[in-house]
Symmetry: C2
DNA sequence: GACCAATTGAACTAGTCAGTACATTTATCA
DNA sequence: TGATAAATGTACTGACTAGTTCAATTGGTC
């Protein structure tokens, strides 16, 4: 099987070289752990299985992350950090309100569709009542910035008479998220009950278009 | 703690009386199991814990359900059957299209909000790739009938010129479900990240209203 | 090249948990 | 009432699994 695609980051060490590359090992473990947690949840995941997916040993997992929950928390944080960096790529403030809202929705939809691992981890975390998000401060700021972006777009839209007033940014965000999340989170049961694969192409584009339309129509004056 | 509210169904036995009431025991076990599975997922649930929640013993669980998965499957089926019976209470065919669609959406929203156990079990099942739904034929028919109801309403709406044509019933259903499901399934992480409790009243009504509006506006010509 | 801290390997363990063995009770029916 | 089947209680076990022990190695520093 080989290692999970994480080339050791030789640079970014203290000052001199370092061939043992603990950062690479950490990273390698997190990647393996994410795969296992995504596949089997927190309780279902087996530390030995994670170790097997790794280029290193179980011993290292405990050395770097303390225990299973510590590893899980590290996986969660790494994932949220990744989103933050991707999200910065959007430049919504410079777009017309309608265009900006459409792009945000489409982006969110695509991100969910393209990263089912993220969706499944969030599901797992919610099953556990999000009690591992409690400890992480890294996460709160991130999502609040989404609300700021939405508020900016929405306020401009209202000012131009395009959007109707009186809607909360949080409601816009929840609507977008719901329409993006559900197809991915419930893909298995949808396939089982309706015989349709929401991850395959004809349906995917259709849902994407409808998601954007739903959000815009909900906001239009 | 006492038993979980399931009074033994004395009647409905073969022909004569029967004081041992195995039906009641079965039911009692299923109730206890649902609570445990909802709380901890399939892998996280402990059979001994389920037994402890029961008025009977672990021995009975294996006697009636074979193994842990068999019990889980029984809980799933019982839950879907319950929905089916509730769903029959709606009389949508006699309502005007717009009114019917609004009522269906509001009903679906309320059902999800009022039955978080259902939502969490569906999450659990999706984490496990819905592989336990495979065996159950009981479930397929049920949800397909929802599509029929939607198609009826939608077609009438299109015929009257109220709704725009070209939308699939499945898309309507997915939109309604997404907007109803997400608030409940992700309640914990939403509270953690935004500090808002989607289960509490001011927000709940707001989301309900917006869900209905979103669906209607999506369909309107 | 000796000393130190970071890093790693292999085997082990204590506890947990799904599932079982076996005996016993309860009701049915002839 | 006695034979038969359904239902149940107690105690146990074998496998699994998170986490550990203890020693060894590696690279850097002086």
């Amino acid at each position: 099987m080989g290692r999970t695609g994480t080339a050791p980051t030789r640079a970014s060490r203290r000052s001199t070289g370092w061939t043992q590359d603990p950062q690479g090992v950490r990273r390698n473990i997190i990647d393996a752990a994410r795969a296992e947690f995504v596949e089997n949840g927190l309780s279902g995941a087996r530390v030995d299985e994670i170790a097997a997916r790794t280029a290193t040993s179980k011993r290292m997992i405990y050395y770097y992350f303390g225990d299973k929950e510590g590893l899980y928390r590290a996986v969660l944080e790494e994932m949220y950090e990744r989103i933050r960096s991707v999200e910065r790529g959007l430049d919504l403030a410079s777009l017309a309100p309608e265009e900006a809202m459409a792009r945000l929705t489409a982006f969110t939809f695509d991100y969910h569709a393209g990263n089912p691992d993220f969706v499944r981890l969030v599901m797992v975390e919610n099953i556990h009542h999000a009690r591992h998000l409690e400890t992480s401060d890294k996460i709160a700021n991130l999502n609040l910035s989404v609300l700021d972006a939405i508020r900016d777009i929405y306020d401009r839209g209202v000012a131009e008479g395009l959007f109707r007033p009186g809607i909360e940014p949080l409601d816009v965000h929840l609507t977008i998220s719901a329409l993006s999340f559900y197809n991915v989170s419930n893909r298995a049961s949808i396939r089982q009950v309706f015989g349709q694969d929401m991850g395959a192409e004809p349906l995917l584009s259709r849902r994407r278009t409808l998601a954007v339309e739903a959000v815009l129509r909900l906001l239009k004056a």
